[in-house]
């Protein structure tokens, strides 16, 4: 490992229009290895749209995305190898068992066939899915389904992990476990997570960015905030309760 900070995601000037409506407007985002970024914002601020653009599910109207130095728009297949993505709705095939599903996800991400079994055991261990490998996903509770979704996102040990509201539907114990997992993931890879829960950001993130009405309105390191004794809640209110449109 070199001590020069390694940039894993750099997105510049990212914009996306849906017809005449601008969902995301000129968003810049940069993430280094070993960093956990919390993306905050009220509903409809453009967090999910931004994440869809970072994972190649949606083409930006303008701007560029580089994942580990590979251009996502010019070379999507290469760039997507580095990404693990848990969308808002976990993409689960409900008719499959947990094992069958995770095996399929591993194959999709080019995990070496000889390594699949060990990878599967490891990821189930990490996400607390040990005893339910043979269960149909359909029969699992929302919390377990969410965990299968997270397992799917990290099965190929990606450099960049993008989690859209990962703790939704989990009980308090599971939320704590997931936070520990995210912290752990944040050591080896970089993580972006979006959430509404402010304590979650304070608990697991190194940096926080706040979006409102499609633009990035605030960005700071959490350590810095703590040093200045600023409360995240106050900042969130201050930047998202403004009535006048920001930016455009």
């Amino acid at each position: 490992m070199n001590d020069i900070p390694n940039v894993t995601i750099s997105a510049y000037n990212l914009s996306r229009n849906f017809g005449k409506r601008t969902a995301v407007h000129k968003v810049d985002l940069e993430l280094r290895r070993g960093e956990v970024l919390g993306l905050l914002g009220p509903n409809g601020a453009g967090k999910s749209t931004t994440m869809q653009m970072l994972t190649g599910n949606l083409a930006p109207t303008s701007g560029s995305v580089q994942i580990c130095g590979v251009d996502l728009l010019k070379n999507p297949q290469q760039a997507k190898r580095y990404i693990g993505y848990l969308p808002e709705n976990p993409p689960l095939y409900k008719e499959l068992t947990v094992d069958e599903y995770l095996r399929f996800a591993a194959k999709l991400h080019h995990v070496n066939l000889s390594r699949i079994d060990s990878v599967l055991t490891e990821v189930k261990q990490r996400c607390g899915l040990n005893d339910i490998g043979k269960r149909l996903i359909n029969t699992l509770s929302k919390g377990y389904q969410q965990r299968v979704g997270i397992a799917q996102a990290i099965i190929h040990q990606p450099e960049v992990i993008i989690l859209d509201e990962p703790s939704i539907g989990l009980d308090p114990n599971q939320i704590r476990e997931i936070r520990i997992l995210i912290r752990e993931l944040g050591k080896s890879s970089s993580v972006i997570l979006s959430t509404h829960i402010l304590p979650e950001v304070e608990g697991v993130c190194d940096r926080v960015q706040i979006m409102n009405q499609g633009t990035m309105v605030f960005s700071a390191a959490l350590a810095e905030l703590k040093q200045k004794n600023l409360s995240l809640e106050r900042i969130f209110e201050q930047f998202t309760l403004r009535n006048e449109p920001i930016g455009n």
Binding site: A59, N89, E95, H110
Partner: protein
């Protein structure tokens, strides 16, 4: 990667009762026709012998079996293709495929191949049924081969158009109705043709299949069906790409 997706499609098919019901039904119907024709053939055999160039067992028994098989396929395809794309969008699982480091072409071809393997399996039942005639006599294997090629191509046409229609909507039921409508229209489009050389006849899938059914491997029909398959596969890929671009 195409194979991984094809395997997943097959697995999803076989965990649902739909696939098994379909296989059972097609087998039941084909056997019914087969036995009926066999009975007729045995009854008429003595009379047929007196004709100068009598139709053989293959022509009397197998040709109608394959003609019925094509109709069963026409009705069943919409039910099997409807969920290929539409359900992936409805259940948000398409995100998993799009986020993975694979090309859109691989996704579409994998899905196509998965269902094609399933149809070939159904066809294998029909072929084994036909080959059982060998126990009692000789067969025109060339005619059988031409029927197999024709039915495979027809199945591929049905799948490719079903796949495309399914990619247009996130409601499997709409995809099914749309596909059935278009398949029926393509089946009977030639009824409006007033003379036999009308251009519109070329668009009738039935007409192309009929020549294979009679044992005629017509290069024009062959080319038409292959181009038909390719066109709809490419349209599906473009549709997937368009979804990414336009949301």
């Amino acid at each position: 990667m195409i194979l991984t997706i094809a395997k997943k499609e097959l697995k999803l098919l076989f965990v649902s009762p739909l696939a098994w019901t379909f296989l059972a039904l097609i087998q039941l119907m084909l056997t019914w026709v087969f036995l009926g024709q066999l009975d007729a053939f045995l009854e008429l055999q003595s009379q047929l012998m007196q004709i100068a160039n009598p139709p053989g067992a293959t022509e009397v028994i197998i040709v109608p079996v394959f003609a019925v098989a094509s109709l069963v396929l026409l009705v069943a395809t919409p039910l099997l293709t409807m969920r290929l794309m539409a359900e992936e969008w409805r259940n948000h699982t398409m995100t998993l495929l799009i986020s993975a480091p694979i090309s859109l072409t691989a996704i579409v071809l994998g899905k196509f191949l998965g269902l094609m393997i399933f149809f070939l399996l159904a066809m294998l039942l029909a072929v084994m049924l036909s080959l059982s005639l060998l126990i009692g006599g000789t067969m025109d294997l060339g005619l059988l081969l031409s029927n197999i090629i024709g039915l495979s191509l027809l199945a591929a046409c049905f799948i490719s158009i079903g796949l495309y229609i399914s990619s247009l909507t996130s409601h499997p039921a709409i995809a099914a109705v749309g596909t059935l409508g278009i398949l029926l229209a393509l089946w009977i489009v030639d009824v409006v043709a007033t003379n036999t050389s009308s251009v519109i006849q070329n668009f009738s899938l039935l007409r192309h299949y009929e020549s294979f059914n009679r044992g005629l491997i017509d290069s024009f029909s062959l080319a038409f069906l292959v181009l038909f398959i390719l066109t709809f596969l490419i349209l599906t890929i473009r549709r997937l790409d368009g979804k990414r671009l336009h949301g």
